[in-house]
């Protein structure tokens, strides 16, 4: 059997290596249009501020890794069509074809360029590829007025690292708070208090851009450098050419099968169901890409596992502050018509006598039965473990009562003896009881 994977990013590459672990005999070919092997795109912001100092280290797999696993990689190869179970691609202008038995589209996402009057007349940066990163890194200049349009994850991370490089950063967000897909306003306010080196303008309605001036409905901002981080959308060019079924992303079933037999899709290019809402969403998370890759590799080789709806477990580091969210925010839950209870609790991250400088804020969203729907955490310390706990709790439909009875680990240098999540759970449970009886 020959498995051809279009796209050598996280999803495609992980799938290739998983396939090889499960089967030593099948032929595996990755076709990648870039001139480099797989790298970690999430690492790019941290190269800008030198938190990661060695650029080469973000390339997780080296040439010999592919060779040792008998995985063929065709770099600088751009696929232009799929016909009669053959991949048609070009290398240095020369057309070639490669038949497949199973085809996997892992074509990723592309950065959105919003329709802003005047944007096409100015130079601006985006952060999606290695080339983008190199351009940004080369342009770093202390004191430079840098404006970032878009305060989603990439925009906020970029604003954070640019400010750490002592650029004067202004971050514009059209919604009522930064990280609108992750945080409610009350949690975003807490985060903003830590991002003191960034000027943040919310509810920013941009009318036009003229030379180096952004004109908004209620003000103007000048820039030396402009960064556009208004999100990314699935790369559907090939899928549409093939006439695969697509909406916002490539439509796949619970085994990642597309509308064509023997054609699958994973990673940033697909759409999938969201756990709480049941709605179809696009979600561009590296953790999902690698998890999907493992599922698909097993599926293709006959060990079928159903892919379940996602909870969008997301985390980031901004300077010395960690922020993350999972499941539904209060804003989103209310927009979906859910009746919810929310509890927010802030405390010292570790025992107060150990450190009074480091804080943590958690927010829990539950339904009226106390079933956990979502959570948000901002802290001067690791939050991933708590977010992963919440991700499991949401998927298992655990209640705050169960969460409040969790056997936590404790050490005063690590975490407070009364875990903030536990406190929030206890309070949420009281609210659930009160509302049931009133």
């Amino acid at each position: 059997m020959r498995v051809v994977i279009i796209g050598g990013g996280s999803a495609g590459t992980t799938c290739a290596f998983e396939l090889r672990k499960l089967n030593k005999k099948i032929e595996i070919v990755i076709i990648e249009k870039a001139n480099h092997y797989e790298y970690s795109p999430c690492a790019l912001p941290y190269l800008i501020n030198d938190e990661i100092s060695d650029f080469d280290k973000i390339f997780i797999y080296q040439k010999e890794d592919y060779e040792n696993n008998n995985i063929d990689v065709l770099l600088n190869s751009e696929v232009y069509n799929i016909v009669d179970n053959k991949v048609l691609y070009k290398v240095s202008g020369v057309e070639k074809e490669l038949p497949y038995d199973k085809l996997i589209l892992a074509t990723g996402a592309k950065a959105v360029v919003p329709k802003i009057d005047g944007l096409s007349e100015v130079d601006f940066y985006q952060l999606k590829t290695v080339a983008d990163f190199k351009k940004i890194k080369a342009g770093i200049q202390k004191g430079s007025k840098s404006v970032v349009i878009g305060a989603g994850m990439i925009g906020v991370e970029l604003a954070s690292v640019l400010s750490q490089q002592e650029e004067q950063v202004t971050l514009l967000e059209q919604e009522k708070n930064i990280l609108p897909n992750m945080l409610d306003k009350d949690m975003a306010v807490i985060l903003q208090d830590f991002l003191t080196d960034i000027k943040i303008i919310e509810n920013a309605k941009i009318s036009k851009i003229v030379k180096n001036e952004i004109v908004m409905s209620d003000g103007k901002v000048n820039f030396d450098k402009l960064f556009v981080c208004t999100g990314s959308m699935p790369n559907l060019d090939l899928a549409k050419k093939m006439t695969l079924k697509t909406n916002e992303g490539i439509v796949v079933d619970e085994f990642f099968q597309t509308s064509f037999d023997n054609v699958y899709a994973i990673g940033d290019c697909i759409e999938q169901k969201e756990f709480n809402s049941g709605k179809t969403v696009v979600s561009q998370l590296g953790s999902l890409a690698v998890l999907q890759a493992r599922f698909l590799a097993a599926n293709i080789l006959g060990n079928k596992q159903v892919w379940e709806p996602i909870v969008n477990n997301t985390v980031s580091k901004l300077g010395d502050v960690y922020v993350g969210s999972v499941g539904l925010s209060e804003t989103r839950a209310l927009a979906l018509g859910e009746k919810i209870i929310s509890v927010k609790h802030s405390d010292f991250l570790r025992s107060k006598y150990y450190s009074e400088k480091e804080k943590i804020s958690v927010k829990l969203i539950t339904d009226y039965e106390g079933v956990i729907l979502g959570g948000q955490i901002i802290a001067h310390g690791e939050v991933a473990g708590q977010l992963n706990l919440l991700a499991m709790a949401i998927k298992q439909k655990n209640t705050v009562k169960e969460l409040s009875n969790l056997e936590n680990c404790y050490n005063p240098a690590v975490i407070s003896v009364l875990s903030p999540l536990t406190v929030a759970s206890i309070v949420a449970e009281k609210k659930v009881t009160f509302l049931k009886n009133n």
Partner: protein, 131 residues
Amino acid sequence: MENDFPKDLKYSKDYVWLKKENDVVVLGVVKPGVEQVEEFVFVMLPEKEKQLQKGDVCISLEAVKWSGEITTPVIGKVVDVNMDVFNNPSLLNKDPYKNWLIKIAITDEKELTQLMNANEALLYYQEKLNA
């Protein structure tokens, strides 16, 4: 503490402020009381229509390391509760006079005359909290 007792309110000796508003009395917690608590995490409010006798526990307040109860200094029926504070107890910490807790339809307005005015409350709580 000198500016902690608005002149237009009445006060009990149990950290409660009251204000007559048309047909009801609005009740909340005084600032010196709130200031002793780092952050409220839960506020248990009574049911609407609940009949209260003088001295009845009508509200429970909770912080991470403290919990307490509020007793009503007046007789009446609960007609409204502040769900904003229930949903976000830290509002009490932010402004205990703006963020009332319950409204009571009282039966005898004379009960209000037995409560302390702002000056009396200031002296009382200065002594109580400095003791």
